[in-house]
Every structure is written in structure tokens, then in C-alpha cells.
Symmetry: C2
Subunit: 393 residues, 2 copies
């Protein structure tokens, strides 16, 4: 049994990206991982322009009436230079004439007559948007490795990236194992339970930005497991099995993995739930044997598989940003040999409450959970009010 931190480092150390990035249409790039830096081909603003309607002049001339030499509309060009004692009437967005170093807002001025204007304000501000103050040619606006959101789509559109380069989505094979499983459309009888793991992993894979391939329920037979696992390893960059990894008579997933040539790096992690999590590699393929209990499988996918998928795509942020919040009630546990992973609910953004949770089969507990907190090995209690790091779901 190894510590979670070790397991996590081991998984990430085995991630080798072999897929080449691909170009997609801008609108297809939402939620993909950006695989190139977004560099500006323009200056914004493209010229020095006025931020207000007013009078462009020299800051040193404010105490004298200024002669208005021309009017510059938005979209037109100045024809004169601003000399000492003169100014140009100017509209918001219009180019600043040579010689001017500020614009007096119209509300801070008074016309002396048709030809002269006086400053009536307290202090003069520049009121000029400098050429390229938002962005300059050659500036990197977005670094590669981010997950593309709507705001990045806007920036890529503004900078002409109509076919951005994005990471190719890794394929993730999903193999729930167990003779007790029936598909969701079947009413379970006797010792049967519905296959929730397969569907959950497909959804988690999609949410992680990868492409799921669902192989159906694999029966508890060595031959069947061998055959399907071999096929899944050949067809995907990542393979996740659930079930068959504990100590029972039918738990031969690690054995089959080895028979297929998979090097097993660990088969037990000091976490609760999720202890019998197994991880191996074959060439650059990553194979995860997750526990059959749905909550264990869910949490270990989030904590170990998702960061691996993100790293495969060159994503810089492997895990969601933790939110630091106080605990809304005391947390207690009797034993602390393993790191506990506790589903929690966020209460109005200001505190977190562990959700009622009967153990690793209690998938219904996750319906109310907004996040997970990790309670370290050796810690048996966290008091109400103590700050915890919540990993959002």
C-alpha cells in the first residue's frame, strides 16, 4: 500500500503524449485544450485615440484660453498639429493629433467664443488610449495549455485564430467487470446490481475532455477479461476497468493485466474509499484498475485518472482550483491509517458540510456533493470552523 501522493506522482510520471495536436474550427474549440500560444497580429487600439469627447491640447497650456483649430470625428484623421495655445475638438475614439498630450473632457470646459475654449476642471487627466495599450503585435495573449472557455474564443476571434491548434482528445476505454452487473434498463434481481460504473466513467471521461469508448459489461471470467482488455489497450491511450481488483476469488484483474504484459506500478493506495486501486502501463498506454464500489471508482477517477488525461493533452492545470472554506460541523473518524476522501456540500458559498455517507457503495451520497475534501493520514478530527481545501466536482 502506497500513499496517495506517491501514487499520484507515479501516474503522472508515466504520462507520455504521443498524439499530435490538431486544428479545429474556432467554434469547435470550446472546452478543448489549447496547443499553441495565441499571438497578436494587431495593435489594439490601432492608433492613439481619445477616450472622451473633448479638446485635444498640451497639458502645459491649461491655464490659457485655447484656440480651436479643427474638429476630428471618429473615423477621420487630424490635418493639423496642435501648437502651443491651440487645441482640436475631438470625438471619443478619434485619433489624437500630433503635439497633443491630453484631452480635456467637454464637461470640464467652457467655450469662450466660437474660436476659444477654457479649461474649468480641477485637474487634467490624459484621457488618451495609447496605441497598443490593450495588446501589441507579437504579444502573447493566451499561453497554450489552458482549457478554452468562451472568453478565450473571443480573444482568438479578435486575433484571427479561426482554426486554433488544440490537443487531440485521448481515447479512454471503459470496462466495468462483474457477473452481478445488469445494464440500467434491467430491474436487478437477487444479488444483481445495476451497472452504474460504466456510465459514470463515460460521463467523467467526457467531462475530463477525452473520448470514451464503452466496452460493455465484462463477465467474471479470465478469458473474457483477457480478450476485452487486450482489445481496449490496443484501441485507446487510457483504459479503465472497474471491479475485480480486491481479494475475492473473482478479483483477477491485476493477474490478467500482468499476463498481457502490463507493468503494475501499484495495486493498493492508502485512501478511503478507493484502497484497491491498481495502476499499470504497457508501452505508453495507461491502465487503471479501479474498485468496483461506485463511490471509490468515482473519486479515484477524479483524483488519479482525470489529471493523467489532462496531462496527456498538455493541459497546465491538472486539477481544479481548490476553494478554501470553513467546515460547518465537526468531522471525526476513529481510524486514520488512510487518507479519507469525504464528499461535501458547499452551503451558500461560505462553508462546507460533509454529506451523509455510508461508505463506498453509497453512490446516492454524491448526488448532493459539490466537492471532496481530503483528510490526511493521522488526522482523526477537523473542528467546525477550521479551513479546508475543497476540490470542486
Amino acid at each position: 500500500m502506497i500513499r496517495f501522493e506517491e501514487a499520484y506522482a507515479l501516474v503522472l510520471s508515466r504520462v507520455v503524449t504521443i498524439q499530435k495536436p490538431e486544428r479545429v474550427l474556432l467554434l469547435e474549440s470550446l472546452h478543448r485544450v489549447l496547443a499553441e500560444d495565441i499571438v497578436s497580429d494587431i495593435n489594439m487600439p490601432p492608433f492613439r485615440k481619445s477616450a472622451v469627447d473633448g479638446f485635444a491640447c498640451r497639458m502645459s497650456d491649461l491655464r490659457m484660453p485655447l484656440k480651436i483649430v479643427e474638429t476630428i470625428a471618429a473615423g477621420s484623421l487630424p490635418t493639423m498639429q496642435v501648437e502651443p495655445g491651440t487645441c482640436a475638438k475631438i470625438m471619443t475614439g478619434a485619433p489624437i493629433p500630433l503635439g497633443a498630450d491630453c484631452v480635456l473632457p467637454v464637461e470640464d470646459t467652457r467655450l469662450a467664443d466660437d474660436l476659444y475654449v477654457e479649461f474649468t476642471g480641477m485637474e487634467a487627466k490624459k484621457n488618451i488610449c495609447e496605441l497598443g495599450e490593450d495588446i501589441r503585435i507579437g504579444d502573447v495573449s493566451i499561453n497554450k495549455g489552458i482549457i478554452i472557455g468562451p472568453q478565450h474564443i473571443a480573444i482568438m476571434a479578435a486575433l484571427g485564430y479561426h482554426q486554433p491548434l488544440v490537443a487531440t482528445q485521448p481515447r479512454v476505454g471503459i470496462l466495468p467487470t462483474g457477473d452481478e452487473l445488469v445494464e440500467p434498463n434491467i430491474k436487478p434481481l437477487g444479488g444483481q446490481i445495476r451497472n452504474s460504473n460504466g456510465y459514470q466513467l463515460v460521463a467523467q471521461t467526457k467531462a475530463a475532455g477525452a473520448l470514451p469508448s464503452y466496452y460493455g459489461i465484462v463477465s467474471d471470467s479470465k478469458d473474457a477479461t483477457y480478450e476485452v482488455l487486450a482489445k481496449a489497450i490496443a484501441e485507446n491511450e487510457v483504459v479503465t476497468l472497474t471491479g475485480g481488483v480486491s481479494m475475492g476469488d473473482y478479483d483477477y484483474v491485476p493477474e490478467i493485466m500482468e499476463k498481457l504484459g502490463v507493468t503494475i506500478h501499484f495495486s493498493s493506495v492508502a485512501v478511503q474509499p478507493g484502497k484497491p486501486t491498481t495502476f499499470g502501463t504497457l508501452d505508453n498506454k495507461l491502465v487503471f484498475g479501479l474498485p468496483g464500489n461506485p463511490v471509490s471508482a468515482f473519486i479515484q477517477f477524479e483524483l488519479l485518472v482525470k489529471p493523467a488525461i489532462r496531462k496527456l493533452m498538455g493541459c497546465k492545470q491538472l486539477n481544479p482550483t481548490a476553494i478554501r472554506l470553513p467546515l460547518a460541523e465537526d468531522y471525526r473518524r476513529n481510524r486514520a491509517e488512510r487518507m479519507a476522501l469525504v464528499p461535501v456540500k458547499i452551503i451558500a458559498g461560505s462553508a462546507v458540510l460533509p454529506v451523509e455517507f455510508h461508505g463506498s457503495a453509497h453512490i446516492f451520497a454524491l448526488g448532493n456533493a459539490d466537492g471532496i475534501i481530503a483528510v490526511p493520514i493521522g488526522t482523526t478530527k477537523i473542528d467546525k470552523g477550521e479551513i479546508v481545501d475543497v476540490r470542486p466536482l
Copy 2:
């Protein structure tokens, strides 16, 4: 000019859902809005079962040696009742025999001989998973109105919802206006700028869970605007235009809206950026005239259009949960007649920093933003360390 809170209430008061919900395959339901309660058709656990390997007995018999009357494996049924002074050897997950009210863990017992066992622990716990303690037939596990995440997919699979009922996605027509716009694949010349609003709104619409229809750049002509807007209103539940809503000569979007029979509810909101935001309705169609400045359009879509889309889908959570974090540096502004909407960056989950932001054309500022904070009317300063509500992007 109305306050943001009024504008928000007005928009939501006009939302009428006319689309019927639809059934989709379970795996297609990820990120859709659930339109039915998820009710259990099973008890989990389906019977009273042991939580440990040990001996099922009566709590009142702990101080005497107990006679072992049978062994109950997982998957097999008890054949005897536990009488005073007796117990049954039992495996984790096996059904509890009648008469027993606790299970002594094997590690807290000692075999007296082949037939008798003694309790050696300090205090006895029940160690029984009660029938239906995770969920019972008829329990509502998930209430309708949530956005379906992977954990909900797992629960729906477990409860047999292989074709859940989800809200139909509203269609959102997207019409960027302005003769200065060129599509992203064109290098802008002179006064041209690339159309970022159209792409941004398509991406925001997708991220909000609706179906975007992009109508292309609409030129600054009353006839063109009239024609495209009429078509978009006919074909969508929501229409968003950008540009043409200020006071310039070519800003006739509100006029065209009225000519088409759209009732305008407001055309100016006390927010910065985003003041010239216009909202109208025609029957149950919602029409938003958003500002042409990209940051204004982005923020007003997030704050006004997205909650309307979510309400159209019957989603209970109209806005993302705010995160309460301290400000990492002083915030100051000179004027406070409008509510300021300030893009901020979250620093390692523990504080927020306003991003460098030159105003409503500065779309590049959003590339580094993780959220938005609202500074109320009348507030000119927030000191470093004060707690603010961050709306995540």
C-alpha cells in the same frame, strides 16, 4: 437607466417556458437540465447485511461465550435464528440472521474452541447495514432542475433511468451588427475590427446549455437589420444582437426592435461596463440588444442572458455559486453612479486580484480572469483583505 437588480428581475419575469422536455439516452444527458425527479425503484442495500467479517449475535449476550450455529457466506441465506447464547459466523455483505442485532468484528473475538467464540473488544458496535439505508423504494434521489453531472449519471444508471427526461435546449439567435466588423480569418484594415462578439456569444450560449444559431455579421442598414432580426425572432426562443444600441447615428437596433413589435422593457442599465444593454419581448421571445464592446457584451450575457436561458430550461440554479474570497489589493474608483463589474483572477484559491483592465473594448483582459466581482452603486473603494463575492466564469 435602471438598476441592475431591476433589469435582472424584469428579464426573469418575462421568461415563459413553452418547449416540452424530451427524453434522451442516459449518456447524452450529461450537462443537460434534468426535467423529472429521479425516484428509486429499489432498496439499497436490498437486505440487512453485515458491514464486517465476524459473528452475528445479540448485543445483550456479549459477556458470555457464544455458540457458533452456522456460517453465512456473501450470497447465501441464513438458515437459523440467533437464539440467546448463540451466534452465526458471517461474511461482509451477507444477510443478517433473524434474532441478531450486532456483528462482532473477527479481530475483536477469540475462538474458545471450534464451537464457541468470545468477545474481546472494548465496546460493541452494530456493524449492520440496514435494509434501504442508502436508498428506499420511492425515495427521491435527485430533484429535477439540476444540471446533470457525472455523479448524477451514476445515480440515474443505478436507479434504471436509461432515458431520462431533460429540458429541451432553447435556440439562441446570434446577430453581431456593424459595418466595421470583419470575420476572424480576415486581417482588419483601417477602422475595421474582427468580429469577436459573434463567436463569443456562440461559445457562451453553448456553455449555458442552449443551442446557438449564428446569423453572420449584420451590416449597419435599417433594412438588413430588420430582415435578419425578424427571421431570428421567428426561429429562436432567445435573440441576442451586439452593437447598434448606443447613441450614434447607426445605433438603430432599439428602433428596429420596436418596428418589429418588440416591447422594450429597458434600454439602459446602471452597470459598467454594459450600460446601453437593451431588453425586449415579442410574445414569449426574449430579445437582448447587447453593447458592441466585447467585454460589455460578454459580461451582460453572463449576468442577464445566461440566467434567462437557465430559467427557460427549468434549471433551479440560475447563477453559479459565488465564492467568497478576500481582495488581494485595494480597489478604488472615482465615480460610483453605476455598479462596476470587475474581472478578477483567483490566486491559488485564497484571494482575488482585479485584472488589468482598460475598459469595455479590452477583451484581452478576460483571458486571465477567473471570475467577476460586482461593486455596488455608491461604493468607491474596497480595501485589501475585504471579503468579496466572486462569480466564477
